[in-house]
């Protein structure tokens, strides 16, 4: 073919994923700066034991963020996870209370099954009956929260009613690393692999990026959508057991409003609520930043009451900066046009 043809399809530049990498780099720089400032004011920050605390405290949030990312990728949202955490935590705690000898692994599985059941039901509503995700999960949030109170009769399960084995799920450690961190790392490896390297994982992006096209291409959109809610539920179920084990208390109002924290961390990590874009790497950064803000502010004598306000401001700043960067990119692209 001729040179003329070459002219229009050869770009000369090899575009990279400038936007996402740039944003993640920005987050990373911000985290480093925050850490640096905190370290200067309080040398106890970057110590092994404090970092261990930091990551252990971020583990549950980051596990949930993986599920939330998949849900947001399909243009959905899940408001029910706080309630699911409470239910699965309560169910496993009640079981431990009744049968103290139950092995911890069974407790974990039990919680995950409870979560899976909830997630599968929500997935059905969204994928099969086209109920808007925000409504389906809002409805389930109420139902599940109510169920949690009902099965516990409004009572708490406290630490003395839990077996030591159960409490060790969260407080124990493997080769000196907190179980929570180990579990989170395993989750990230499994789901990182699933999202980035399997067909179904990639189809989550496709479905969120362009649902109509996914239908035309014959991708089973409904199956993918169902799957993400089922996975989100399962992760929330797991998180529920970890939560109850960690705080050694199961209550009806465990994790009220936590769903919004998770969504905030996910968005902070660069996942778009309108679907299709977001990466696991960004997610990790988002969760870590959340954890750093949580952990570091008290160390530099920022009153804990400032934390929420600071967190909110950081989230707002992150999304707004993202918009401004994108706008600038568009203006740049226009300048390159001939007209």
């Amino acid at each position: 073919m001729t040179d003329e043809l070459r002219a229009s399809f050869r770009t000369g530049r090899r575009p990279v994923r400038f936007g996402e990498s740039f944003r993640e780099l920005g987050l990373l720089v911000f985290i480093v700066v925050v850490c640096g400032v905190v370290q200067l004011r309080n040398p106890n920050f970057l110590t092994l034991s404090n970092l261990r605390d930091l990551f252990a405290n971020t583990a549950i949030l980051s596990i949930l963020a993986v599920g939330m990312m998949m849900v947001l990728l399909t243009r959905g949202i899940d408001l029910s996870i706080g309630a699911t955490i409470a239910l699965s935590g309560m169910v496993s705690a009640l079981t431990v209370q009744a049968i103290p000898t139950i092995p911890p692994v069974v407790s974990v599985l039990e919680g995950m099954i409870v979560g899976l059941a909830v997630g599968a039901a929500i997935g059905m509503l969204v994928a099969k009956f086209d109920v808007l995700p925000i409504i389906a999960t809002l409805g389930f949030m109420n139902v599940i929260r109510g169920l949690t109170y009902l099965i516990s009769n409004g009572a708490w399960v406290s630490s003395y009613q839990m077996s030591a084995g159960f409490q060790r799920i969260a407080s124990g450690s493997l080769f000196g690393v907190s179980n929570l961190i180990v579990i989170a790392v395993v989750i990230y490896i499994v789901f990182g692999y699933f999202i980035n390297h399997t067909r179904t994982g990639r189809q989550i992006y496709a479905v969120g990026s362009n649902p109509e096209a996914a239908d035309i291409a014959g991708l089973s959109r409904r199956r993918v959508v169902w799957l993400v809610y089922a996975a989100m539920g399962t992760l929330a179920g797991l998180a529920g057991v970890l939560w109850v084990s960690k705080f050694a208390s199961a209550q009806g109002d465990t994790a009220v409003g936590y769903e919004l924290d998770v969504i905030a961390a996910t968005v902070l990590g660069g996942v778009s609520i309108s679907g299709g874009s977001g990466r696991v790497s960004g997610l990790i950064l988002g969760s870590v930043l959340f954890g750093v803000l949580d952990n570091a502010l008290p160390l530099v004598n920022v009153s804990p009451f400032w934390q929420e306000a600071i967190q909110g401001t950081v989230i707002l700043a992150a999304v707004v900066i993202n918009v401004l960067v994108k706008r600038n990119g568009q203006r740049y692209a226009l300048r390159k046009r001939v007209i």
Binding site: L138, V143, G312, L316
Partner: protein, 351 residues
Amino acid sequence: MAGRSIRTERPWSLRAFFLQWEWLLALIFVAINVVNSTLSPYYFSVDTFLQTPKNFLDIAFLVLPMTLVIIMGNIDISVGSTVALSAVVMAVSFSAGLPMPLAMALCLLVSTGCGFVNGILMTKFKELSSVIITLATMIIYRGIAYVILEDQASGDFPKWFSAFGWGSIGQVPLILIVFALCAILFGLLLHGTSFGRQVYGIGSNPVASRYSGIKIDSVVMIVEMLTGLMAGFTAIFLTSRMDSTRPNVAQGYELEAIAMVVLGGVSTSGGKGRMAGPLLAVFIIGFLNYGLGLVNIPSQVLLIIIGLLLILSVLVMNVRFQSRHQRSALSPSRSVSGGDRPIEKKGTRRR
């Protein structure tokens, strides 16, 4: 031209009239009251209907503007935090020596300001969904409330202030009167005025609204500020009823308000629904709760019922919608290439 060819009388059919969502809600409301009266011989009295609403009306102030917000196709999850922040500002400024009426004015000013900030963010950053913006401001507003009051409670309001939550004019509780007034105003605003028309238009088709010369930004701003103002009302009544306030009040009110609006038949995809539906939903849930109390069913069961009602109502609405549009999965109106859209009816197409 021989006679008129296009009618201007509103078409009216009995069937269509009774197929409205509000009738179903009204039916549920009646059913709840019938059940309640069988449960307690003292239930069915004027006093019950006048006094019960005191218990649930403070959140209902949020339902009014939330209806507008959702009809416009947005969502606002910062309202609970707005309530907390404005309540805290009111309490703290009163403790600092500001006369109570001024503190209340300040409360409304702060809450409207919160709405103003939301509105500015929504109109300046249209790329962001309202969920994200109000999620962030939700955290910030509550965060500021914590900064101001830490984990203290603030109270010691003057005696007369408790009248907002508990007082009555004659037989009728003050809160009911104020709420009725607000509800009527919002109903008129939404259904009678050109502003309300624009709210619907923006929710149905923001692009066409823009091309029709609608100033979308100002409508969004006004609705958000109204939302803030009403959150201020909630703050005043709630604080008066509890006689004190803390930074963690009204947590989760945003989702409750949204649930009631959706239960009232307002679609979260925008453009559809009426004021009457959410109002009925408020009273259904309020009286349901009261009834559960009569038979000592724990109030948590109410959560389950709300959740199920929410899911069922949306399912019913979906089914109703789909029966009219078969082949919905790949319906021609959502045609893929956008080229041919066979939604024009053959009948009207030919001459």
